[in-house]
Amino acid sequence: MTPDAGVPVSSPPRLDRAAAERLWAGHERTLRRYLRVLGAAGPDLDDLLQETFVVLLQRDFEDRGPAAAATFLRTTARFLFLRRHRDLLPLVEAADAVWDRRCGDDDGAGYLAALRACVARLPARSARLVQLGYDDGLGRDAIARELGLKADGVKTALRRLRDALRQCIERRLGR
């Protein structure tokens, strides 16, 4: 009934709504990519991803720009991964070296652009193979049925495709 029980609700801004949403939307993909390089997959990866954001939400976090936020999130994810897999420190160190080499400057945007350009030049049948194998996640038998190949043929085709794409990436990245 009385306004005397009121509480102030406005104070100096720290992180506004748009910034928080950008933080979530802008870093999830890169973080997922980093966790994949560490070796996380499937439900384990989802758990780690969300645990990382839970840490972000529960801690005092000052947004000092995308680079700082990405570093914070990667460090947190790395810690959470190692907490689950204590014996994998050598693997994580190797993965970090690869990450620094390939994605250290731009979170992997250059690598992805190079790969995108390489995939764009693939013949339709090879592009379909990428689609079936990497997005739809079909097994070799199902891919073989889809493309009219034998299961062993799919294995060989995928290996050749990967080799070709990797060489293409190296050329584009100038390494």
């Binding site: 009934m1 009385t2 306004p3 029980a5 009121g6 509480v7 102030p8 609700v9 406005s10 104070s11 100096p12 801004p13 720290r14 992180l15 506004d16 709504r17 928080a20 949403e21 979530w24 993909r29 997922r32 990519r33 994949r36 390089v37 560490l38 070796g39 439900p43 989802d46 758990d47 969300q50 645990e51 954001f53 839970v54 939400l57 529960q58 050598p90 693997l91 160190e93 190797a94 993965a95 070296a97 690869v98 990450w99 390939r102 994605c103 992997g108 690598y111 992805l112 790969l115 995108r116 995939v119 990428v130 689609q131 194998g133 990497y134 997005d135 739809d136 996640g137 794409l165 990436i169």
Partner: protein, 471 residues
């Protein structure tokens, strides 16, 4: 593997991750339709799995602990603050609540007659010890008469600290509170060794495996999962195995994670994706509710407070419910309310206005509750929001009402000198209608102002017990 081989493997994983991203980019335009088809198929499969699960679980009764006898009523709680006061406390006490500087519970082993215990670290005491090193509830294991245990927020808590209580033969009620606690497979494995009837987890991080193991508590009658993180990644259908469950509280499931930033007061909603990598993120859905109704024949009370639901969820509610909690639930509308009004056994309802920070599409047309309530005969009603004359009109119609709980919301009423918005309770109301409710014997008010308490006291006289509760 040597370092070169490890790096080569990491390169492969990076390549695979990037290729996967590209493939998903290419498929994105078509995914909407495909995913929704897959969703329908998944629900069908989920339904089948539920039926199979119910058959399987009902065929084999696990040979776990035998239910203890019903306990006698507890004496009043002895509240103790500080380790010095705890050391001086009567060793014959049966009901104890202690808040001490650090979780140094060694002295508790001397309280062998304890039947109910609440322990927590008291950060308000001077110079609290921030304990990061190992400790445990081992002293509590000596209190073999213990029936009820509440462990409040402490500095550190894992399955190791929890493990000693597995030896308590009579523990039937357990409450774990605090963000530092994680219900993982190991912690849940400790809990299933206990003859628990009631389990409350508040603000606990629930891991998928933890919820799965929790489904093995054969005697559980009441389960409260309040403000727990991680639930949206858990498979709720594991709860179907709790065949004795009578009351289930799922608070804050399947909704946006809302963070209230302290400095600005600006609520920020971070909407978690509902599908990840093509897999359903588990939440409260109509299919899940239908499965719940089939699997849990004893379920009578269901609390979905602060959870995002839709009309189909409410339409699928089991007809056996006697209490339904929808306080601050979001996303439903008039068809859902009508379905609630048609529940034949419903005697208790908690509802309220959705929080002001809700997304527009989640807003509940709250005024539509009034005609629905008019057709119901409630014994217990809980309202959270800003009371209006409409609310009081409806309360006047509830002639069977015995219990009323009002969580009075605050309305913006003025601006102070610094330009800050000041919240108050809104214009005064006449609560005289409550005096006409002949069966009313209990009114609970959450964080009431003195003026509201006085207004209600004037209306109901001395025959009604009025309690003020902390929010």
């Amino acid at each position: 593997m040597n370092r070169n081989e490890l790096e080569a493997a990491a390169e492969e994983r990076l390549f695979d991750a990037m290729l996967g991203e590209l493939a998903r980019e290419a498929a994105a335009p078509a995914r909407g339709v495909a995913a929704s088809r897959w969703l329908v198929a998944a629900f069908v499969v989920l339904g089948l799995a539920v039926v199979v699960g119910v058959v399987m679980t009902s065929r084999g009764t696990p040979a776990v602990a035998v239910a203890p006898q019903e306990p006698a009523p507890l004496p009043p709680t002895l509240e103790v603050r500080g380790i010095t006061a705890l050391r001086k406390a009567d060793r014959q006490v049966e009901n104890l609540s202690c808040a001490i500087e650090g979780p140094d519970f060694g002295v508790l082993q001397e309280f062998e007659r304890l039947r109910a215990l609440r322990v927590e670290q008291d950060h308000d005491l001077p110079h609290p010890t921030l304990v990061q090193s190992a400790w445990s509830l081992a002293p509590v294991a000596r209190c073999t008469k213990l029936e009820s245990l509440t462990v409040g927020p402490l500095a550190r808590f894992t399955a190791v600290e929890l493990a000693p209580i597995a030896a308590l033969p009579n523990l039937r009620s357990l409450e774990l509170v605090g963000k530092e606690k994680v219900l993982d497979g190991a912690s849940a494995a400790v809990l299933v060794k206990l003859p628990l009837r009631s389990l409350v987890l508040r603000e606990v991080f629930v891991v998928r495996e933890g919820l799965r193991v929790l489904g093995e508590l054969p005697l559980l009658e009441r389960l409260e999962l309040r403000d727990c993180t991680g639930l949206d990644r858990c498979d709720l259908k594991h709860l179907y195995r709790l065949r004795q469950l009578r009351a289930l509280t799922l608070r804050g499931v399947g909704q946006a994670t809302v963070q209230q930033f302290a400095l600005t007061g600006e609520p920020v909603a971070l909407q978690l994706p509902t599908i990840r990598d093509g897999r359903i993120v588990r939440e409260v859905t109509a299919d899940w509710i239908k499965g719940l109704a089939e699997a849990l024949p004893n379920l009578r009370e269901l609390d979905l407070a602060e959870t995002r639901i839709d009309d189909q969820v409410l339409i699928a509610l089991p007809r056996s419910l006697t209490f339904l909690g929808l306080r601050a639930a979001k996303g439903y509308g008039e068809p859902g309310m009508v379905a609630v009004g048609a529940l034949p056994n419903l005697q208790g309802l908690a509802c309220g206005e959705p929080p002001p920070n809700s997304h527009e599409q989640d807003r509940v047309p709250f005024a539509s509750w009034w005609p629905v309530l008019r057709g119901m005969k409630l014994h217990r009603y809980e309202f959270a929001g800003i009371p209006t004359p409409d609310l009081l009109d409806e309360l006047r119609q509830q002639t069977d009402l015995r219990e009323l709980r009002l969580a009075i919301g605050l309305a913006v009423v003025t601006t102070n000198e610094q330009g800050h918005l000041i919240l108050g309770e809104g214009p005064p109301l006449d609560f005289g209608c409550l005096g006409d409710l002949k069966h009313l014997d209990w009114v609970a008010l959450v964080n009431p102002s003195a003026s509201i308490v006085q207004a209600i006291r004037r209306a109901v006289g001395d025959r009604v017990r009025i309690e003020g509760l902390a929010r």
